[in-house]
Symmetry: C2
Amino acid sequence: RGVVWTVANQKGGVGKTATAVNLGAALASQGHRVLLLDVDPQGSATSNLISGEPLTADVYRVMTGTVRLESVIRATRVANLALAGANEDLAAVEVDLANVPGREGILRERLAAVRAEYDYVLVDSPPTLGILTINSLVAADRVVVPVQCEYLALEGLTRLLGTLEKVAALRGVATIDRLYVLTMYDQRNNLARDVVREVREHFGEDVARTVIPRTVKVAEAPGFGRTVLEHDPGGPASLAYRVLAEEVTNGARA
Amino acid sequence: RGVVWTVANQKGGVGKTATAVNLGAALASQGHRVLLLDVDPQGSATSNLISGEPLTADVYRVMTGTVRLESVIRATRVANLALAGANEDLAAVEVDLANVPGREGILRERLAAVRAEYDYVLVDSPPTLGILTINSLVAADRVVVPVQCEYLALEGLTRLLGTLEKVAALRGVATIDRLYVLTMYDQRNNLARDVVREVREHFGEDVARTVIPRTVKVAEAPGFGRTVLEHDPGGPASLAYRVLAEEVTNGARA
Ligand SMILES: Nc1ncnc2c1ncn2[C@@H]1O[C@H](COP(=O)(O)OP(=O)(O)OP(=O)(O)O)[C@@H](O)[C@H]1O
Ligand SMILES: Nc1ncnc2c1ncn2[C@@H]1O[C@H](COP(=O)(O)OP(=O)(O)OP(=O)(O)O)[C@@H](O)[C@H]1O
Ligand SMILES: [Mg+2]
Ligand SMILES: [Mg+2]
């Protein structure tokens, strides 16, 4: 109960938001109570789930201590899936918290009471290694790292891994639990197969067996204001996210 | 002479770096003297052009006033293409300059003397709208906006356009000149065609005629330490970037 999974990778466009939203939706469809916590000032996860509505209560005010996390959590149209939304105000946190001692642990602290009400908390982070992502990592029980099946996939990982070591030191633990999820796999290109092989060779058991295929349905879904499970329920990406949800909850990776 | 083009879009993974590097290489191959200025702490443009070598002199020290821009510019193996490189130190600028008056205009000022030595300065910016991107936008004569042919393509543009208005106000001009470049066009999917049509309907003359196709060669090239013009000289992406270079230099858009 109250397991926090942070979806992180400082590289842009690798499928963090697609994974946070669709894995969250898959877990919710399997009966788990899920909180999706959007920590990206660009709020793509937020607009996926409450598109078109203005956001009146958001994570920025929680980070700066103005309101409690509970008061910004709202239900979504997806059963079992709640949302704490983000908007561009959150960008100000970088500067607002610039010299505050203990600023890396604020999100963890704000989550402490709330997390017990959920089976899983999925945190969507921005494509940076700044204070927002650090907060998301410090708050995590496990870090889910989407790895896009492109040649540069492994490059940025070194830096992320270095950051995870610093987070482990901050938390006083030996290592941060992690799961790599290969995303946007395009079987038409050899590059994708090479990346899958290379990532599995490097990270072995830490790599999800399930690979998320590249399909236009995932890219389209937000434009329709839906998750891919709503937009294309029988399709390969929905299937993959459901299978991933079973894989991550069924013990080998509990 | 000394025209500054900033490649910007706060959305991750839309082809900013691919465009800065490959359009820069195409312009250089056509005889123009090009400076590529990397303002992204993740330094992908930098590692594209000097992969494997440590970066001893970088843009961070220029931004904080420690060294002059000239001293961090170096030749690359590509004729006519020089580089001012970035590394993760640059991330500290957000905090270092947090309350410095006039912090939005630092890059423009640092470029003032140097730009005259080049025909074009291409600035690669990070996937954020923070102080680094603001500096890049304030320094620009024109903003090149890569738009990935995906449904969410238009969503983030509203925020970028709002930022361009603020930059115009800061600079005391009516509007900031801009060019949208459609990237990663995949003819196998209808989504891409819809996005192209929608972007042209919205932005008309500000959209490049040339569209950059999605090809694995562009994604592979950095892994080989090359630009796509070196990696796949006869291929459709190299051709498209060369044609784009001619389009942007031949007058209709001068
Ligand atoms: N499996 C997939 N198939 C096709 N398109 C996908 C897939 N996963 C993600 N995309 C699309 O790729 C783009 C980037 O994905 P996404 O926004 O999830 O990445 P991100 O890592 O959160 O990006 P950012 O760094 O900007 O936050 C989006 O347009 C998304 O819809
Ligand atoms: N035309 C293309 N065809 C295929 N892959 C491409 C193309 N353009 C870019 N890519 C690949 O897509 C990924 C993202 O591209 P790129 O790094 O240029 O985007 P970016 O906007 O600079 O990302 P970031 O926001 O992280 O800086 C890279 O792996 C790149 O090689
Ligand atoms: Mg995202
Ligand atoms: Mg880039």
